[in-house]
């Protein structure tokens, strides 16, 4: 039996009837049409579906949509304003911190949360924060560099 939920996503309130077994990741992709949240494993290991739930990073495949009822969600689509990339997104572009792009939304979201929490992270802190986001392409070097550079940019600006 479907349940009605009200979720604020990227600043906008949505009301939807969903099956209780619908995952939050699939709710975002299929019901709301925000396909930037990628699904790589559906068991919380890869981090491609990372989003912010009430400001904290969660893997949206480990939540049911009904658990987001009354809460606030930020997806990767919510970071750029009017086509202007956020400084973190810009740093990812500058450093080529992606290859196939599939892990990238999760990486960007997790980096965003890290830098909000800790504006001046060390390499080790960056690597620790991103350890739940797997990337098969890059070997992580340029991702770590992008996050460091984004932190520097935030300090200067």
């Amino acid at each position: 039996m479907k349940q009605t939920i009200r979720v604020t996503i990227n600043g906008r309130l949505y009301e939807e009837d969903v099956e209780p077994r619908l995952l939050l990741s699939h709710f975002l992709r299929e019901n709301i049409g925000l396909t930037g949240t990628h699904v790589g494993c559906v068991v919380g290991e890869c981090g491609a579906c990372s989003i912010l739930l009430d400001g904290k990073v969660v893997k949206s495949c480990l939540h049911f949509a009904v658990q987001a009822d009354g809460r606030e969600v930020t997806t990767v689509e919510g970071l750029a304003k009017d086509g202007e990339l956020s400084p973190r997104q810009e740093a990812f572009v500058k450093h080529y911190a992606f290859q196939c792009g599939y892990c990238t939304p999760g990486m960007v979201i997790t980096s965003h949360a890290l830098l909000q929490r800790n504006p001046n992270p060390s390499d080790e802190e960056i690597r620790k924060a991103l350890a739940g986001n797997l990337c098969m392409c890059t070997g992580y070097v340029q991702i770590v560099d992008a996050v460091k550079d984004a932190a520097k940019g935030m300090k200067n600006g």
């Binding site: 068991v43 792009g101 599939y102 797997l134 991702i143």
Partner: protein
């Protein structure tokens, strides 16, 4: 002076990826689209007695079920060809298992329902009567007469054996001062692309047209597979953004494209299938476990006179990729060495495990592993420095282009220079001092130095050297198309023959086209997706075999050059000037110094498509050029000669790798303290892109060596079907790889470029093995087998490597 080639231009793919606007197959939805699930075997080896879907189809939301009977009735087996080379007796391989299952996860059917949950529920209602058979999991057991056999048609699990010899191997061993022998092993692994397999199929029964959207690397494999299996002629293959390929998405995925297409044909509605992670890990294809018995004939000064090896390949439960890991050894058979005689002998053994697929380098990491482990063994046997032994045998820069014993022609390279630069940059002597001090403190620090080539640009005719019974090559050389169109507003659009799986095709081709056409990369966009209706074809219209740098860049270079000529011809006419006097800069064609004699790309765009009276007589209107590139230096030996010498690949990048590790004696855990590569990828078109390929491929090779891998139980059950079980490395375990470029541009390619994709994955497993062995020197143990998990290293330290050895 190059403006864009070699520069750090802004990524063209980046903005869409960081904002979540990449478009992958799973992001598309069609009206009335159904969701599919695949019915898979829970058994490693079993006969299928019957499949009864009657309970499943009682649910009105279940729209169709495909059973083995349907597969047999409605489809034909794939034609053996490029992917079943070496098969002596025909074995029919359908998209799904029809009589027997031969690995856990093998597809035997499929369901389409109105939503995925219903489709998943329906799978559980399909009654399959299996008759379990004895599972064959160990290669050595598999080839014993007492073993159960997978394919009745073959009567044996030894599905292929063969050998190949270059030079006088007998003489080499006869004249040797010493013979050094070793048995080496590489396990099963994969690149586990983050985006799993997926397909959308849509069939228009009235016009008999099938359209598929699919995450695939090689459009022609999908195209041919659909034609062969479904007998259709009107097929459109669309490949949107691909979330990682690495070879995983070349071949095996065609099975699923056929099954999902069958569902679309049966229901008359579009059908989407998205693979689960666990499905991918058990059935999405693995790199081959390989066992080598190698022996080197050497002189006392370290000169290697000959190399002989036997190879046992565990190819899993399919014959369609039987020999790929063996045949690919021809690509880097000589590695960086001058050794005048090589003998190779291969055994391809089918087992009840996931079929093998072409994964990043295919057999090349194995070939490099043989060479580099053997170089260390030779040094140990002769009590020489491992670096000196390598130096002794290296091909010299003065010998380039160098023809290897098997017919490869190495285009360029300075291998002694790479090695010297590596030792200097890593401060090798100081490292050895540090190591001495570390050992005094009881720390197990190790240093591994290896070198390897990275071949690029495949030549499918290579296989004829190994299978002389082949009358015709499955293809040869590399033909690849590209189209460039100057739009009406003066911007440019490129159409490539290969899909982009993360190698920055859009950025790199825009740089090259901008350079040639005198415009800027921001004025150029590349058409994504690949669309077989619109995109050019080619034997190498593919994202595999390290082809992009040679064939796609060659094609774009050719198309841009052709378009430039047209632009100049039209401009000359419009400006009433000899085209030879014109220059192009920032999209403006002009007589240098003249304020009036100029015309912009935007003006030309308007003329070329609208204004016939301004088009010179005899000139084709429009400003569009398609160019089909063929590699101009493919001869000699594009096909094998009488001595079976053949160009397996056409360009040869190279890299010297240094790994510095520390082993925790108590736990066996290996930490990589430093990993440095001095690489030659020829002319670097975009340093960030090339660095990314090197970092990524090195990280994968290191991860493989240190434990990523698939494990099976004695019954053939896969035990590693999640990323965690598989041991996927995160930021926490992956070392920061360092790269220094020392390019020797290729004299054979359009810009001097060489390959950079498989690259660092080829020597890195050997580098880690060498470093770990060096770290364990105080225990006098040899490292022969990968992976070096904490458990296996602990066993090495504790001198009992043979107990409870995992079954790979």
């Amino acid at each position: 002076m190059a403006k864009f080639v070699g520069s750090r231009t802004r990524s063209k793919e980046g903005p869409r990826h960081v904002t979540g606007r990449g478009l992958y197959t799973d992001d598309f939805r069609l009206p009335g689209m159904l969701q599919a699930m695949i019915l898979r075997s829970p058994h490693a080896h079993a006969k299928i007695n019957s499949v009864d879907p009657s309970e499943a189809i009682k649910n009105p939301n279940v729209m169709a079920v495909i059973t083995p009977e349907d597969v047999k009735q409605l489809t034909k087996p794939f034609k053996p060809g490029r992917y079943a080379a070496g098969l002596k007796r025909p074995v029919d391989e359908y998209a799904g298992a029809v009589e027997k299952v031969r690995y856990v996860g093998e597809p035997i059917g499929a369901v389409a329902a109105r939503d995925r949950g219903t489709a998943e529920d329906a799978l559980e209602l399909i009654q399959v009567d299996y008759e379990p058979l004895r599972a064959v999991v160990d290669v050595r057991e598999a080839i014993k007469p007492s073993s159960a056999t997978l394919f009745d048609e073959l009567g044996t699990n030894l599905a292929w054996q063969g050998s190949l010899q270059y030079g006088d191997i007998e003489a080499a061993f006869k004249s040797a001062d010493r013979v050094v022998k070793e048995t080496l092993k590489i396990h099963r692994y994969s690149s586990t692309p983050l985006e799993p397999f997926n397909v959308i199929a849509s069939y228009d029964a009235a016009s008999k047209r099938l359209t598929v959207w699919v995450t695939a690397q090689v459009p022609e494999v999908i195209y041919d597979g659909l034609r062969e299996a479904l007998g259709l002629q009107d097929i459109r293959v669309i490949i949107p953004d691909v979330g990682g390929g690495f070879g995983q998405k070349i071949h095996l995925i065609r099975k699923y494209v056929v099954l999902v297409s069958l569902l679309a044909m049966k229901t008359g509605r579009p059908v989407k299938w998205i693979e689960d992670r666990s499905e991918h890990m058990m059935a999405g294809g693995h790199a081959c476990a390989q066992e080598f018995e190698a022996e080197a004939a050497v002189k006392n000064d370290g000169t290697v006179l000959g190399l002989r090896f036997k190879e046992y390949d565990d190819v899993g439960g399919s014959v369609s990729t039987l020999t790929i890991h063996f045949t690919n050894k021809l690509n880097n058979l000589s590695n960086t060495y001058r050794t005048p005689a090589i003998h190779m002998e291969g055994y391809a053994v089918v087992t009840n495990k996931c079929p093998v697929i072409p994964n990043r380098g295919i057999g090349k990491p194995g070939m490099c592993y043989i060479w580099e482990r053997m170089m260390d063994r030779v040094a140990q046997a002769l009590e020489l420095s491992p670096i000196e032994v390598r130096r002794k045998n290296l091909i010299q820069p003065s010998e380039m282009p160098y023809r290897t014993i098997s017919g490869n022609i190495y285009d360029s390279g300075d291998y002694p220079g790479l090695l010297s630069a590596l030792l200097e940059k890593i401060d090798y002597d100081k490292l050895r001092d540090e190591q001495r001090k570390a050992r005094e403190q009881g720390k197990l620090m190790g240093i591994g130095i290896v070198i390897g080539v990275e071949p690029g640009g495949r030549n499918a005719a290579r296989d004829m050297a190994i299978f002389p019974e082949m009358k015709e090559p499955p293809g040869s050389g590399g033909i690849n198309g590209a189209t460039i169109k100057l739009e009406k507003n003066g911007t440019l659009t490129l159409h490539l023959g290969s899909p982009n799986c993360g190698q920055a095709h859009e950025t790199t081709t825009a740089q090259v086209a901008a350079e040639i056409l005198g415009t800027t990369p921001d004025q150029i966009s590349t058409s994504i997706p690949f669309d077989s209706d619109l995109s050019p074809w080619g034997v190498a219209a593919a994202n595999s075999g390290n082809n992009f740098h040679l064939y796609d860049i060659g094609a774009i270079h050719g198309a841009a050059t052709k378009l430039r000529e047209k632009v100049l011809q039209l401009s000359g006419h419009v400006l009433n000037t000899d085209p030879k006097e014109l220059t192009i800069e920032n999209g403006v064609v002009q007589v240098p110094g003249s304020a009036t004699k100029k015309v912009t790309f935007a003006e030309l765009g308007r003329i070329a498509y609208n204004n016939q009276h301004l088009i010179p007589d005899g000139m084709e209107a429009g400003l569009q050029a398609t160019f089909y590139y063929t590699f101009p230096h493919a001869k000699p030996n594009i096909i094998p000669d009488a001595d079976r010498r053949v160009r397996a690949q056409f360009t040869f990048s190279a890299g010297a790798h240094a790994a510095v590790v520390e082993v925790d004696k108590a736990t066996g855990k290996v930490e990589v303290l430093r990993y440095l590569i001095v690489g030659d990828n020829g002319t670097v078109i975009n340093p960030d892109v090339v660095n990314g390929q090197v970092y990524g491929s090195a990280a994968h090779g290191i991860a493989i060596a240190l434990g990523e891998g698939f494990i099976y139980s004695a019954e053939g059950q896969p035990l590693t079907i999640t990323y965690l079980d598989y041991g996927k490395c995160s930021t926490a375990e992956t070392p920061r790889v360092e790269v220094i470029h020392r390019p020797s541009p290729s004299p054979f390619t359009s810009l001097g470029q060489k390959a950079a994709g498989e690259g660092a994955a080829i020597p890195s497993p050997a580098a880690i093995a060498s470093a770990v062995e060096d770290a364990l020197k105080p225990f006098g143990v040899k490292v022969c087998d990968l992976p070096l998990t904490p458990e296996s290293v602990w066993r090495l330290v504790n001198h009992n490597p043979e107990t409870e050895r995992r079954s790979f």
